[in-house]
Amino acid sequence: MAELLFWPALFAYGEAAFAYAGEARRPGTFGRPAIWGVRLGWLAQTALLVVQAARADGFPWSSWGGALNLFVWLVVSAYLIWGCRPRFGLLGLAVMPVAALLLGLAYAGGGIAGSGDHPGALLALHVVFMLAGFAGLTLAAGLAGFYLWQERSLKRREARILRLRVPPLESLERLTGRTVAVSLAVLTAGIVFGLVRFATDGGSFDAAMGATLVAWALYSGAVAARLHGRRLARASLIGFAVVLAVLPITHFA
């Protein structure tokens, strides 16, 4: 059953990625098939997660493959909040190829299996909150990249700037800031659950924890300093680079 849902999800995400590439080349041509690919893929993956949860004896996403599966779903869910709007459509060009690739990796890593383990409620909450936080920060990085690209186009006075339908510069800045703030709150909750579990169950401080705290400190610094414009976008991208380092350390090592 899970296999039956996995392949449509992967196919739909892949179709969306290609359609977004086509939309970037010929605006107004492939926008609709792209967003429908995301929607249908998300529905299939949601059903996949439901089936996994129903079948598993325990928490089915604690393996790296499972975590990746859940992570992809969270990223696409966050994208769907804005992605349906035509002006934000091209953000999908950054999100969907990565989503399709990671979902494929999740499959290779056994992430759609129905089995699970019993990590306890605290660890399950820790994993879910951490992944949700990282998913939000991934999206914030996409928005920040979009902001920098558009800011550069305005500074270069590119004649084609109005050809592609993209969100206004100020909206991108505002959304990047809000997404970072919300994701940081979720990440903080994830870290707190992790620390509580660490205090109760014991264990040793490792590199993954250190890297997570570095990323958290970076984002917290950006929020506290009320960075804006180019600085906020760059900070989001630097923070995301640390997140990129954290994820493999925590789940693929």
């Binding site: 558009q150 305005l154 700037i161 510069l169 414009g229």
Partner: protein, 392 residues
């Protein structure tokens, strides 16, 4: 064999900016009231007419009316174009979609088509034609991006401001100098919700502190003075702290020091930059127009099929009436020899025979109506069954 004449022929006679200069066009130009009166006069009691008159074209759409008359009376009949039926419909759909406009894709024409339709004297055919034209025009505007890109420097400036700020509601504009060009740009911005916060004349530009104060509060600066040097330099622009400032320099020689563009959060566009955006967007409009042509062609095909179906409707009605007339006459001859029950049975049986006999020919006629053969079928049926013109 010559193509048979349609019963309801649509005629279009017109002149437009494509082939006719303004000194000729103005001889047959009408305001809305004049166009309405002319349409009523041409239509008379039995015909249909709609007169579309804008600064770029005057066109008369008519059914059963003399569409050439206003052009003949103005002595310009030698330069008119004449189109009929499907070609006339396609032309109107292109006009409504802005595909025949001087500025490709401009949206004003759709409103003008609507006004002409509402003021005109349409009957069943022109009513259908103009409703479909309005639909086609909307479709071109919503299903292509033809209307999204700006076609003038002032519209490009407003579109770029929206690219920076999104919604312009409540955004503050400072006008430096108040020429015609900057007024036009300001009008484009205010129509999108921005407010003119200050107009800086010579007194204000003479006071750099006050000007810097105004600019610190502004979101958009539009400049168009006849000053020989820069009116605004980086020293007039205070740190923006994340608040973008969009500057539009429409003056030649330029008013705004290009060094302002290097400041963080400042975006300065001069007249050449804006013209480049317009050129690119017009090229984009041409690409979108190709898609628009496909949409209006499909609409024209739908209209053609509908118009063709009109050709067979009277023939079908006449055929049914003739069959019913014969049935009723034959039944009357038998009436005295039949009881009530027998009469009811015979009536039911003959009605079924007539219906079954006519069913297939009528279906075939309707099928033919959507192809080019509708008129031929209608004429053949009239000939075979001896249906006179009065039966229509």
């Amino acid at each position: 064999m010559p193509a048979p004449e349609r019963e309801f022929r649509l005629d279009l006679v017109g002149i437009s900016h494509h082939r006719t200069p303004v000194e000729v066009r103005e001889r047959v130009a009408f305001d809305l009231e004049g166009a309405a009166a002319l349409a009523r006069e041409l239509a008379g009691s039995e015909g249909e007419a709609v007169v579309l008159s804008t600064c770029n074209r005057t066109e008369v759409y008519a059914v059963g009316a003399d569409a050439e008359r206003p052009f003949r009376e103005a002595g310009v009949e030698s330069v008119v174009y004449r189109l009929h039926d499907e070609a006339a419909a396609l032309h109107l759909f292109r006009v409504a979609g802005g595909l025949d406009s001087m500025v490709l894709g401009e949206g004003e024409i759709l409103g003008q088509v609507r006004q002409a339709f509402e003021a005109g004297a349409p009957g069943p055919l022109l009513d259908r034609l103009f409703r479909q034209a309005l639909h086609a025009g909307k479709k071109v505007r919503t299903q292509t991006a033809i209307a999204e890109s700006p076609a003038s420097v002032s519209a490009a400036a407003a579109a770029l401001a929206q690219q920076v700020f999104g919604d312009l509601e409540g955004r503050r504009i400072v006008l430096v100098g108040a020429g015609k060009v900057s007024e036009q740009a300001a009008r484009n911005l205010t129509s999108r919700g921005a407010e003119i916060a200050a107009i800086a004349g010579r007194d204000l530009t003479a006071d750099p502190e006050q000007l810097a104060e105004e600019i610190a509060r502004a979101d958009v600066v539009v400049s168009s003075t006849s000053s020989p040097g820069f009116v605004l330099t980086p020293r007039h622009v205070r740190a923006r702290r994340g608040r973008p400032l969009f500057l539009i320099d429409l003056a030649v020689p330029r008013d705004l020091d290009p060094a302002i563009h290097q400041l963080e959060d400042c975006y300065l566009y001069d007249i050449d930059d804006l013209q480049a955006v317009v050129d690119e967007s017009l090229a984009g409009r041409r690409r979108e127009a190709e898609r628009g042509e496909g949409l209006v062609a499909a609409e024209a095909e739908r209209f053609r099929a509908w118009q063709a179906s009109l050709d067979v409707v009277p023939a079908i009605a006449s055929l049914r009436a003739r069959a019913e007339e014969i049935r009723a006459a034959e039944l009357e001859k038998l009436a005295r020899r039949l009881s009530d029950d027998e009469r009811a049975a015979v009536e039911s049986a003959t009605a079924q025979i007539v219906n079954k006999l006519l069913h297939l020919p009528i279906v075939r006629m309707k099928e033919a109506a959507v192809t080019a053969d509708g008129v031929i079928y209608a004429q053949t049926v009239r000939h075979l069954f001896g249906l006179s013109e009065e039966d229509r």
